[in-house]
């Protein structure tokens, strides 16, 4: 293994959180900042060729190579874990920009009470309402502390939307249930596709509060505070699973990389697969000395560094901590240990499929061009007679309906799956099929967690990460309730036929849900219960910071990117203002 010249800062992973940290450190300090990215280099012009459903949306060209590495999955600790051999329920990105290149760009802030979930829920509903086996925790950071960083993130990305709570004033047409915002969105809402317009009209008539989805696919030309200009969205429909060819969708490569490319103290190395973080000084309170990585030809390197930022997406963050033997692995039988704890995904369901008489032109759109209602979010509605806690967003988005994936979606009344009758019905319904979706909270439970698989290995011979994950009655009850609401909305939209969601049974690793996996290296105010402190600093290794949604103690329903980046900005500020002058524990 070759030892390379030391650097001040090494960042593992060049996605949203890694490159946001790099931009802040390289712009505001003289530190030499090195980002190591396992996948290839990427740039906006690469995406001119990508409007191909097969290679990008089905063969998944932008995703981590699953032949090299996957995860294993089982429902309970009693079951046998098997590899997820083909991508299903989530899609980890790779390459510069990470999953931030192929994302849809829906950019929610979380509800204020999501950050103190345990405290607020007990206050309001009592300890007895908490599910048996839950492991819900507070974040150790409050919404009000995070608000300025949310605003900075929105400004950096040029998020389009309409405020519903401007400095405490409720505004119809925005999300009136959202937490207090210090300012309006940087750009106005996106255009409204037909299906979303039907949803908006119907939900308003039902007495709900529809609002345009906050979108990182910016509605008009925008120049951000870093001086980066981007074009407005053209609604071509190639966002989700694709990179944006005109740069309208905020992606690390078009928003952060242009700033970083001007900094002499920043270096980006691609094809660098980090296998270990090297820590000296024992389990109690060591210091990270650097990282070991392997390049595509198999050569191994040791990269010494003064500070290590782990920013390699939720699952890989946890896996690298476990492989590097940093901290105590979580044990569900005793509840001891922290690494791998509180794995959550998201209650993401097609709450109702709605079939219409008129054509919808659903090939037009963008990953976040849609309308939502949050009348059933968090604790904003009455749960007293409901068999579940919390909630989420009901929405419809016209992300760009693609024919290979969607031809043959039919009402339940059509029984044929092939042949002339099926073909005739599939033709009729092809552009008359709408979906009302639901994104809901996934609470944390003691037996949903991650550890290293004892059997299966990656290309380098390292153990795969093992996910133990299943739904509980809280998620099942939530899905059923939200599906019934979605059916009412679909009816009000004038749907001819409606298929409700059949119900959540067991966690299904084959059904795409979202790439919003959380936990494993969670933040908190108690080192016995969390991996990192409220500044995302490792409790025991003070020169190691773990960025991303791995820090979320549980899933608060909406899309995680905005919060993950806001937390990164906050950490960057503390590192620059406090840690740089006096290294050591910040909390």
């Amino acid at each position: 293994m070759k030892t390379l010249p030391a650097t001040d800062v090494v960042i593992i992973g060049a996605g949203w959180t890694g490159l946001t940290m790099a931009k802040e450190l390289a712009s505001r300090t003289s530190w030499n900042v090195l980002a190591l990215e396992r996948g290839p280099a990427r740039k906006t012009s690469d995406y001119l060729d990508d409007m191909d459903e097969l290679d990008y949306a089905i063969r998944l060209r932008m995703m981590q190579d699953i032949a090299d590495e996957t995860v294993t999955f089982r429902h309970t600790p009693r079951d046998r874990a098997l590899p997820v051999r083909q991508y299903g329920s989530f899609l980890p990105g790779t390459g510069v920009g990470g999953a931030g290149e192929h994302w849809s760009g829906i950019s929610y802030r979380y509800l204020p009470d999501a950050f103190d979930l345990l405290t607020r829920t007990v206050e309001k509903h009592g300890v007895k309402r908490l599910p048996e086996d839950h492991s819900i925790q507070d974040w150790g950071v409050a919404y009000d502390e995070l608000e300025p960083y949310y605003a900075r993130t929105e400004a950096m990305m040029g998020i389009s939307g309409k405020a519903g709570n401007l400095r405490g004033r409720r505004i119809e047409g925005g999300n009136v249930f959202e937490g207090l915002r210090s300012g309006e969105y940087p750009t106005p809402p996106m255009k409204t596709p037909y299906l979303a317009a039907l949803f908006e009209e119907a939900t308003r008539r039902l007495g709900y509060h529809p609002y345009p989805l906050p979108a990182a696919t910016t509605s008009q030309a925008y120049k951000n505070p870093d001086g980066i200009s981007r074009a407005g969205c053209s609604y071509c429909g190639y966002c989700e699973r694709f990179g944006c060819m005109i740069g309208a969708k905020a992606q690390p490569t078009n928003t952060l990389l242009p700033v970083l490319n001007k900094r002499k103290n920043f270096t980006l190395k691609t094809g660098a697969w980090v296998r270990r973080i090297v820590v000296e000084g024992g389990a109690k309170g060591g210091q990270a000395r650097g990282v070991e990585y392997v390049d595509p030809s198999g050569r191994e390197f040791f990269q010494p560094a003064e500070i290590v930022f782990l920013a390699s997406w939720t699952l890989n963050n946890t896996r690298l901590l476990l492989l590097s033997k940093i901290g105590d692995p979580y044990r569900p039988d005793t509840g001891q240990g922290t690494v791998g704890k509180n794995l959550t995904h998201q209650v993401s369901i097609p709450a109702a499929m709605a079939f219409f008489d008129k054509p919808l032109n659903r090939f037009m759109g963008a990953g976040s061009a849609g309308i939502a209602v949050n009348d059933f979010d968090g604790d904003v509605f009455d749960h007293s007679n409901l068999p579940f806690l919390r909630g989420g967003s009901l929405y419809t988005v016209c992300y760009g309906f693609r024919p290979m994936a969607n031809f043959g979606l039919l009402p339940a009344t059509v029984k044929a799956r092939w042949g002339s009758e099926w073909k005739k019905q599939a033709l009729h319904y092809y552009d008359r099929t709408g979906r009302i979706s639901f994104y809901g909270e996934h609470l944390a439970y003691r037996h949903n967690y991650m550890d290293l698989d004892p059997l299966y290995k990656d290309r380098n011979g390292d153990p795969l990460l093992r996910l133990t994950l299943d739904w509980r009655d809280n998620e099942r009850g939530m899905a059923q309730f939200m599906s019934s609401k979605a059916v009412e909305i679909a009816r009000a939209m004038g749907a001819r036929e409606i298929t409700p969601f059949p119900g959540l049974k067991r966690y299904d690793a084959t059904r795409y849900q979202s790439t919003h996996i959380q936990g494993g290296a969670i933040m908190g105010s108690n080192p016995a219960q969390s991996v990192v402190n409220r500044y995302l600093q490792h409790w025991r290794v003070s020169n190691l910071f773990v960025l991303g949604a791995s820090a979320f103690p549980q899933n608060p329903s909406g899309n995680p990117t905005l919060t993950a980046v806001a937390l990164t900005y906050r950490t960057a500020g503390v590192v620059i203002d406090r840690y740089r002058k006096r290294p050591g524990a910040l909390a």
Partner: protein, 222 residues
Amino acid sequence: MRRRHFLTVSVASVGGLLIYSLDRRPHRVLAQERLSLGSIRIDLRHFTESEALDVAAAAARILPSDESGPGASEAGVVVYIDRQLAGPYGRDKYRYSVGPFAEGAPEQGYQGRESPRDIYRQGLARIAGMARLQPAAQDQLLRTLEDTLFFNLLRTHTIEGMFCDPMHGGNIDMIGWQWIGFPGPRMSYRDEIEQYHGLPFRPKPLSLAQVLGKRVKPSEEE
């Protein structure tokens, strides 16, 4: 070296001769120069000719050519499947295929050892001679396979071959896209997205190569 195989098809049966109007009514265009060819030979990369004919016959029962419009035959679905199986997909490049292999719960997904090529090899044995059967007998045979991995893969591939970008070998002359009214890749709907509410927007589709003015290398050629 594998012996070269060709699929010989009548020009009357492939796309390009059937043009669909925007209201989806088929018009048969009898272009003299095309008719004079009589038949065309398509280079096969994976199947033998008889395998290709059997797969084409099966795909044509999943998406038949009938009064609702063109089917798998006109779109060249079998050409698409042939190229996919010959390429990285066919040899399982997009799957974690490290053992041990064990039967799992349905929610753990496909756990078999067999690659798409292997699954087709097994399926082809079940449909050998399909091309020579009458449609009713073909349907009867396919019904006995409905629960197999092979049939589900074939059904998925038939839909893919009907609606893929033509660079992948199927959807010849964008016949599938014309049929369902999908415009294909298009740079912008900024002017249409709020105008065509409840009204069909059905421009003539363009392929990726036509939109970009250059050829793009598809994954099967990696």
